[in-house]
């Protein structure tokens, strides 16, 4: 119950098989021409690349929600900040190919800015951007978490202030003057590390990197959850005050997992931008963060594979339904959510486990 039997031998086989299969997709796309029975359409590849980013975000969320019982309704902000951090680099590597043929991104030219504002400095370096991907969400989460956890804000009160945070960031980023492209955000990227961003090879590489990060994150999270720290986290979830009376300071445990989760989410965002090609403030809308929670819940919170499965299935269904039943898909999706809660209290992962039992 406590220990995810998910990582049983069977689960391991499943993970390895899924990884191999996922890794094969872009290669099949590259090496077999359109029309060949083994060809995988690039549309499919980019779709799954996107889902993997969502899965990483859901996994990150599950670490705080499923294990430490901290429900965040604002993880979208970490995702988006990671994406924006990477996006700054991508914007700068457009160079003079923008419509205004300036060194500055088009939206800055348009605002009559003559130079990059200070908070853009260094972002022309990929490595600086990479550091920001980790640091920006990490520092924000750390500071926010420190004060919130120190004040012993819990439960819905915490959830609501995370929602307030992401909402505030969304409004802030919507403003043109904030310097991140306002409502349009960043888009129309041309290249990454010198490689054209829409070239099949680049895409395949991004895809494989994402896969590697996802699998790596999964292993890291598993290791944490299985450690004694994992048990302390669950004790935080169940009875925080009791934990204090045996000598643990929940503050640092919560802060650790919260910050880690934010960083993972930021990395997910960073991987997401080049593959999807746009980042804009609506990623920080409260509804987007709630959707992340939904992925984790559908998959089964408190399990590691669950959220990954959840992110894939919810988004997969959404992609499929919005194309196949443009007028009815919300009924179908809504119904699925209701049925999952009603009949699969442990989410899809619970289904898998039930079969195993």
């Amino acid at each position: 119950m406590n220990h995810p039997s998910l990582f049983s031998r069977r689960a391991w086989t499943g993970i390895v098989a899924a990884t191999v299969l996922l890794a094969a997709l872009p290669l099949l796309n590259l090496f077999f021409a359109d029309g060949h029975p083994l060809h995988v359409p690039s549309y499919m590849v980019s779709l799954i690349g996107k889902f993997m980013c969502y899965a990483l975000a859901a996994l990150a969320l599950d670490m705080v929600w499923g294990y430490a019982g901290i429900l965040s309704l604002g993880h979208g902000v970490f995702f988006a900040l990671g994406a924006y951090a990477h996006g700054m680099y991508l914007m700068r590597s457009i160079g003079r190919e923008g419509v205004y043929q300036s060194d500055l991104p088009d939206f800055m030219v348009f605002l009559d800015w003559k130079a990059y504002p200070w908070y853009w400095s260094g972002t022309d370096s990929f490595w600086v951007a990479l550091a920001l991907v980790v640091l920006v969400p990490g520092v924000l989460a750390f500071v926010f978490g420190f004060f919130a956890f120190r004040s012993r804000i819990k439960g819905v009160y915490f959830s609501i202030i995370t929602q307030a945070m992401t909402y505030a960031f969304m409004l802030l980023f919507f403003r043109n003057n904030t310097g991140f492209g306002g409502n349009n955000g960043f888009t129309d990227f041309k290249r990454i590390l010198g490689f054209p961003i829409s070239a099949p090879g680049t895409k395949a590489t991004l895809y494989l990197v994402t896969l590697a990060v996802l699998v790596g994150a999964l292993l890291l999270c598993r290791w944490i959850v299985k450690s004694k720290l994992g048990r302390v986290l669950q004790a935080v979830r169940d009875s925080e005050s009791r934990l204090m009376f045996i000598g643990y300071n929940p503050l640092w445990f919560k802060l650790f997992v919260w910050t880690l989760s934010a960083v993972l989410c930021g990395i997910a965002g960073a991987l997401y931008v080049p593959q999807v090609g746009i980042i804009n403030p609506s990623e920080m809308s409260p509804a987007n963060s709630i959707e992340m929670v939904i992925w984790a819940a559908v998959g089964g919170r408190g399990t590691l594979l669950g959220p990954v499965i959840g992110a894939f299935s919810v988004n997969g269904l959404k992609s499929w339904f919005t194309g196949a039943f443009p007028n009815l898909w919300l009924f179908a999706l809504g119904l699925i959510f209701i049925l999952v809660t009603r009949y699969l209290p442990r989410g899809l992962a619970g289904l898998v486990r039930k079969e195993q039992a």
Binding site: N2, V232, D238, S241, R242, I246, G247, N249
Partner: protein
């Protein structure tokens, strides 16, 4: 944020040079105008086993809340040893300094197994990094096994603690307390809900611990109190302050105690 000694191994430097481990001086706790504790003064010597009795609502649990940092006193001071001001420390710091507590209503980690409950309570460096890398040594494992036997939950170590019966939870909590190896043990009604036989065993256990730890016990079971108090001091609280203090037989004969507590 006095986070400097978060989760560290118990401070070696507990200063008990004057022979007492706990001093409460003129502690008052006021809830919306109601005085739960009223200038309560009390001290416990090193190695003493002190029984506290008193009517329902006398303030016994509130006093323990003050000692463990759960409730901040409205006025007065509480010292652990000569130097540690409990009113300035947070719950986990106090726990870490060496005060362990069993609550009046059994509180265990219901979603964890019995084994994990004991493992979590075990005395060790309780900061984040050590916890992340912690592995049970065979010695530690042995210690847990020993306690499991003592509290008669061996065989149940993989059960979720939430599924235990009331009495079993009581024992588990005592087990957790022992894993913590605190210098001062606070027991709030340890035998409530225990059968007579279990009560006797608990008394035995406490008599064994006597001298190794300082212990404060709150109970309403007079037989049990007599059993463990032996010739030691029993304190009677009433309306938030000490009503009487003395040997068990003295206290039991005290008219005021009979009036407010024991009944005629």
């Amino acid at each position: 944020m006095s986070s400097m000694n978060d989760g560290r191994i118990a401070l070696q430097g507990l200063d008990t040079t004057h022979g007492a481990i706990l001093y409460l001086e003129e502690i008052s706790v006021v809830f919306d105008g109601f005085r739960a504790l009223n200038k309560l003064s009390l001290d416990i010597s090193v190695g003493e086993l002190r029984c506290i009795i008193g009517p329902n609502g006398a303030g016994k649990t509130t006093m323990m809340d003050v000692i463990t940092g759960k409730t901040r006193p409205t006025s007065g001071t509480a010292f652990f040893g000569q130097t540690m001001d409990l009113s300035r420390m947070s719950e986990h710091e106090i726990a870490h300094a060496g005060i362990g507590r069993k609550f009046q209503r059994p509180t265990v980690f219901e979603q964890h197994t019995v084994f994990e409950n004991l493992e979590l309570a075990m005395k060790m460096d309780k900061r984040v990094r050590p916890t992340l890398f912690a592995r049970l040594s065979s010695e530690q494992r042995g210690k847990i096994d020993e306690i499991l036997k003592l509290i008669r939950l061996n065989g149940s170590e993989q059960r979720l603690a939430g599924l235990l019966s009331h009495g079993q939870k009581q024992w588990l909590e005592i087990g957790m307390l022992l894993m913590q190896e605190p210098q001062l043990i606070l027991l709030d009604e340890p035998v409530a809900g225990m059968s007579d036989a279990e009560t006797a065993r608990t008394a035995e256990l406490l008599n064994e611990l006597r001298g190794k730890h300082s212990i404060m016990v709150v109970e309403h079971d007079m037989g049990f109190v007599a059993e463990i108090a032996q010739q030691g001091v029993v304190t009677v609280l009433h309306e938030g302050s000490v009503l009487a203090q003395g040997r068990m037989d003295e206290v039991q004969a005290d008219d005021r105690v009979i009036e407010v507590y024991l009944g005629r």
